[in-house]
């Protein structure tokens, strides 16, 4: 918690009306930047993180001491090249890495806000982050990029602020959370709520922590980020440090041990209430509903050029759902490119070393940065 005091943040003083009807003000947005903003301020990219991400997209995360979540794609000489671009990434509101969220301390009580935190939406997250443009006095971003929930934020951002980004790159996402998406999120939430240590969200006050519930939520979600083929190739039926089955409920199989590990390290860095709030925001995401069922209308004013990317083995946000975004954009003549990248790594492909993806993304950004600048001259 003390470490969190060192993360960069801005305090948003002006009131923001949330979708739930409540108004918030004087709240923090924590962020990190990479690269240098040039004089013309035309090289800024806003990167949106996914469900369990944070502002530390590249380099070492100072809180967890692990590599940033997008280290493969973002950095010096990488696809999103910080030698060329100035990258801003903010922790979403509802998150637990310094931005206003359920673990924010209520000044009056000295305790975390917990479930008194309002239910937020992707729209609320994006509107809060928009303040960063004013903070950096950036008139127009070169690009907005994000995968998964980050991609949803990209879509919402260009819909809300149609002339604030030259390029929009939603990756492995959807314009509307499916029943299956909601089902998996609900499974995770129920795992947390079923943990007796959750204490109606007031676990800090009760000096407990719903680690078991949050770990199970993470384990279930983690399966949805991988592909069956990927799992089979990596783990198959391999046993965990044993020669034979033990006829017990220990982790006999490597996959069990792997999932348990993923669950256990996750609870060290993530807040259970944040998990509830952010998954809820994702479930509520339905961009076409915001425009009376017409997804194209969400983009009718946008001047951004789009590049939609999906992955063959992603069954959480499958190609068909990404394609719906492309179809809606083509229906109104928007400039949209689309490719489905071949990968066995499932939904997580966008976070991993998938050369076809990284090369295409990198080249796309470089070529278009050149074109956008030429146009301006």
């Amino acid at each position: 918690m003390n470490k969190l005091k060192q993360v960069k943040n801005i305090i948003i003083t002006k009131p923001q009306k949330l979708d739930c009807g409540k108004e918030i003000y004087n709240f923090p947005i924590s962020y990190e930047t990479y690269g240098t903003l040039n004089e013309k301020k035309d090289n800024a990219i806003l990167v949106f993180h996914a469900l369990t991400g944070d502002q530390f997209a590249a380099g070492k995360n100072p809180i967890t001491n692990k590599d940033g979540w997008w280290s493969y794609a973002l950095g010096s000489g990488k696809a999103i090249d910080t030698e060329q671009f100035f990258v801003i990434c903010a922790n979403v509101i509802g998150g637990c890495m310094g931005s206003y969220g359920p673990s924010t301390i209520n000044e009056e009580t000295g305790k975390p806000i917990g479930t008194n935190f309002p239910v937020i939406t992707i729209n609320d997250m994006v509107n809060a982050q928009y303040n960063l443009l004013e903070h950096f006095k950036i008139d127009k971003l070169f690009a907005v990029i994000g995968g998964s929930m980050g991609g949803m934020q990209v879509l919402q951002f260009v819909s809300n602020f149609p002339d604030k980004a030259h390029i929009a790159i939603p990756i492995a996402c959807t314009s509307s959370h499916s029943a299956q998406n909601i089902a998996f999120n609900e499974l995770g939430r129920q795992a947390i709520l079923a943990d007796t240590n959750w204490k109606n969200g007031l676990y800090e006050q009760n000096k407990t922590s719903p680690d078991k519930g949050l770990a199970v939520a993470r384990m279930a979600a983690h399966i949805t980020y991988l592909s069956k083929k990927g799992l089979q190739e990596k783990f198959g039926r391999k046993l965990q440090e044993r020669d034979d089955l033990k006829f017990s409920f220990d982790a006999d199989f490597q996959i069990e041990s792997y999932l348990r590990y993923q669950g256990s390290v996750f609870v060290d860095r993530f807040d259970a209430n944040s998990y509830l709030y952010i998954t809820r925001a994702m479930d509520y995401f339905d961009l076409s509903k915001q425009f009376n069922g017409n997804l194209s209308a969400a983009f009718s004013k946008t001047t951004s050029k789009f590049f939609v990317i999906s992955f063959t083995s992603d069954w959480l946000y499958p190609t068909a759902e990404n394609r719906e975004i492309v179809i809606a954009l083509n229906a109104i003549g928007t400039d949209v490119g689309f490719v489905e990248i071949e990968s066995d790594k499932g939904h997580d492909s966008f976070l991993l070393d998938v050369p076809d993806f990284l090369d295409t993304l990198g080249n796309y950004l470089k070529t278009n940065y050149k074109t956008v600048n030429e146009k301006r001259i």
């Binding site: 050029k305 590049f307 492309v326 179809i327 083509n330 229906a331 003549g333 400039d335 949209v336 490119g337 689309f338 490719v339 489905e340 990248i341 071949e342 076809d356 090369d359 295409t360 080249n363 796309y364 070529t367 278009n368 050149k370 074109t371």
Partner: protein, 198 residues
């Protein structure tokens, strides 16, 4: 650049909206973008080629003309280009009608199965023709619906499709092509280029 692409680009008006169906590595798109119009899109079935195009800054959507043209509204392009792929579709008739729905005009190029070498090949050897332009054997060819220049003329008249302009390529030489000289052109040229509209 291929002679065929040069001829196609000459048919396209400055600053018009263009869709290149089966744009490959984007060679024609790039040329049109640099010389004719910035409003150019591509549709391509091969992932690698789509990636190449996007890397070059060309706006391309991965997809197949038989299913994915339907996402474009009526008359959303001034020109829709289909270069030497009509014969590879399961339902060329449907593709043509989609091209003419999406585009105000379509430019369709056709490898001519009526070319004398092709005819001779079948006549003399008695086997399915294998030529420079049609290099595959009958059992592995992607070309399901080969046709001749005359066949395409007949098709257009049956379907009441207007042929706005037609040209033939004979060893990279552009020749005019019309109903009058069709018999001869159908024999001597490897490729037909048609600018059509509904």
């Amino acid at each position: 650049m291929k002679k065929e692409f040069k001829v196609i680009s000459e048919l396209i008006l400055q600053n018009s909206k263009v869709l290149d169906v089966g744009c490959g590595d984007g060679e024609l798109m790039k040329f049109l973008k640099d010389n004719k119009t910035s409003k150019i899109r591509g549709l391509e079935i091969s992932k690698n080629r789509v990636q190449n195009c996007l890397s070059k800054g060309l706006t391309v959507v991965e997809g197949n003309a038989e299913n994915d043209l339907q996402q474009f509204p009526n008359n959303s392009f001034d020109f829709v280009i289909l270069s030497q792929t009509l014969q590879a579709f399961l339902d060329p008739e449907k593709v043509i009608s989609e091209l003419l729905r999406v585009g105000k005009k379509a430019i369709v190029t056709i490898p001519n199965f009526g070319y004398w070498k092709v005819r001779l090949n079948l006549l003399i050897k008695g086997t399915m023709p294998v030529t420079e332009n049609l290099p595959n054997e009958w059992y592995n060819t992607p070309n399901l619906h080969m046709c001749t220049l005359r066949d395409f003329f007949n098709f257009c008249s049956k379907r009441e499709i207007k042929i706005f302009k037609s040209l033939a390529l004979k060893n990279d030489k552009t020749l005019n092509l019309s109903a009058k000289n069709l018999a001869w052109r159908n024999l001597e040229s490897q490729l037909g280029i048609f600018l059509i509209e509904k």
